[in-house]
């Protein structure tokens, strides 16, 4: 009962009218653009895409770069930072912390609310993208179900990671910038480095679970888009099982740490009033 109240109130904070608009726009961005590209290319004299092959190509490109590469990451960063630290910064967290509710339940409720938002937007975007590029048949041709599953797993992993970051500081801008740099600089630069550097990027594990091969001919050599999923033949190969293991343990480990930190830290600053 109390958990539901906590969860819904957190969700309500996240999905305030002002923010909801941005979330919906974010969900619509990928499918709308994909449809636009599809129509533009079919209308032009030099069709860019072959009807079937390239519709799937479109789905893969947008799913990989937009939904996995952008929507998932940015929403995880923003919602996990926003849901804890904005309240800490505005000090309204006091009201929650002095209620007869255990702190881990507060954090967990907010964690799930944050994941709900991220997943809802990413799923909505995926479904619309499949419909927009491939029509109803898209659900059989494109790996929609698999993508949705991996998105959920990814949301768990990223949200846990950023939640841990947030539970350790009292100011919102620092984890925001750190999260953005991690999500967009680290996660794109690291997999491109030679050798086994990609092992320290969450995104490479996600791409192993949900590979989006654009060209079936070169799956073996170039892996998926932009080289995610392994180019170096030497040394270490990321298997599906390993990916599952890494993502799940990051999600669980970071969450447990975040709960431990949140339950024992003081979230009020120095008294100014006297």
């Amino acid at each position: 009962m109390v958990d539901i109240v906590l969860y819904t109130s957190a969700l309500r904070t996240l999905a305030r009218p002002g923010r909801l608009i941005w979330s919906v726009l974010l969900a619509l961005a990928a499918p709308l653009l994909a449809i636009l590209v599809k129509h533009a290319s079919s209308a032009s004299h030099h069709p860019v895409l072959d009807p079937y092959e390239h519709s799937l190509h479109l789905y893969n490109a947008f799913s990989s770069l937009m939904i996995f590469g952008f929507v998932l990451v940015i929403l995880s960063v923003l919602s996990s930072t926003g849901i804890i630290l904005q309240e800490v910064e505005q000090k309204t967290i006091v009201y929650l912390l002095t209620r007869p509710v255990a702190r881990w339940r507060i954090l967990l409720a907010r964690y799930f609310a944050s994941i709900t938002l991220t997943t809802a937007v990413a799923w909505g975007s995926t479904v619309l993208l499949a419909l927009g590029t491939l029509g109803i048949g898209g659900f059989t041709q494109a790996p929609v179900g698999r993508d949705m599953g991996v998105l959920l797993l990814g949301a768990f992993a990223y949200t846990s990671l950023f939640l841990l970051l947030c539970s350790m500081v009292n100011r919102a801008l620092i984890p925001l910038v750190a999260g953005l740099l991690y999500g967009f600089l680290w996660e794109t630069l690291i997999p491109q480095l030679p050798g086994n550097f990609r092992a320290i990027s969450l995104m490479s594990y996600i791409h192993v679970l949900a590979p989006h091969h654009v060209n079936k001919a070169n799956t073996d050599t170039s892996g998926s888009l932009l080289g995610f999923g392994g180019t170096s033949g030497s040394g270490f190969h990321i298997t599906t099982a390993l990916s599952w293991g890494v993502l799940c343990s990051v999600a669980a480990g970071c969450l447990v740490l975040a709960i431990l930190v949140f339950s024992s830290r003081e979230y009020v600053g120095r008294a100014e009033g006297g």
Binding site: S44, F62, Q90, L173, L176, L180, L189, N218, S222
Partner: protein, 317 residues
Amino acid sequence: MKKTPPPVLNAQTSPIADLSYRGYNGPLKLHAVRWWVVALYTIRRARRSVGFWVLTGVCALSYLFHALGFYFQHNLSSLSPSMHQVFAQTLFSVMNGSLNEYAVMGIALLLGAGSIAADNRANALMVYLARPITRTDYLAGKWSGLFLILYSVIAIPSILYCLTAMTAFSDMHILQQDHWVFVHILLAALFPAVVLTSLILGISAWSKSAFSAGALFASIYILSNTIAGILGMVLFRKQPDKANLLSHCSLSGLMDAFAQRVFHFNMKQPMLGRGPFAFTDTPPVLLRYSLIPALVIVVLCLLAAHQRIRAVEIVKG
């Protein structure tokens, strides 16, 4: 201005001076330079921020990274005309490469997101605007302060890089190749600094908190990059011209386009589905494609910010 203190007005007849409150009758500066006070203050604040120095460190890292890269490339390949292309490319990367680009975005976010939103929230706007300064002075000060910081963060590593290359590889005759290389750097650095400063201030003025301003700014910045990147990559095989144009339809794309125009070289874009080291050459796009959108963004943001800067208290009573 003469710096002699003015005589005490109501000189006391008593031998004991009145050390309690007195009015101020010293000199006053012209009203026209008061925006500079705000700018100086913004810069002073930034110098104390740890986050700012960390991100500046990332910028420095990008400089080292590219300098090393160029050193190896230079030593491996014999001197050829294409080396100057490579130099231009790396110079461009020092300025606009993703490492630097994200660090600069981070600085803009860290310093700019709260600059107006937090003043407003902390009730400081009321105090500042109760002074004899106008809203325009205030905005101009905030703008130029942030602009100068971003401008130096972008321009200084590039200039250092250029100087390093000139001293290390005197055989390249960089100055002979491009007499105006320093002017070009200064010019190219102008563009991202102006656009980012205006955008973040516009957003900050309309946000309730530094966090929401930062979130919105980052979303716009990264989303536009992602979209433009995908569009460019999806289209490049059949219609390279259109693809090239589309790939510049983002904030960082605009900056790339301008810098490319200034340095005049073909940029290497990653190719979709061709593995990590597959790149295609893209020629610079016309100047107006970068200047006009940027101008629109800057003007809109500044107008929006100006509209929003008001001396109102948050708690109504």
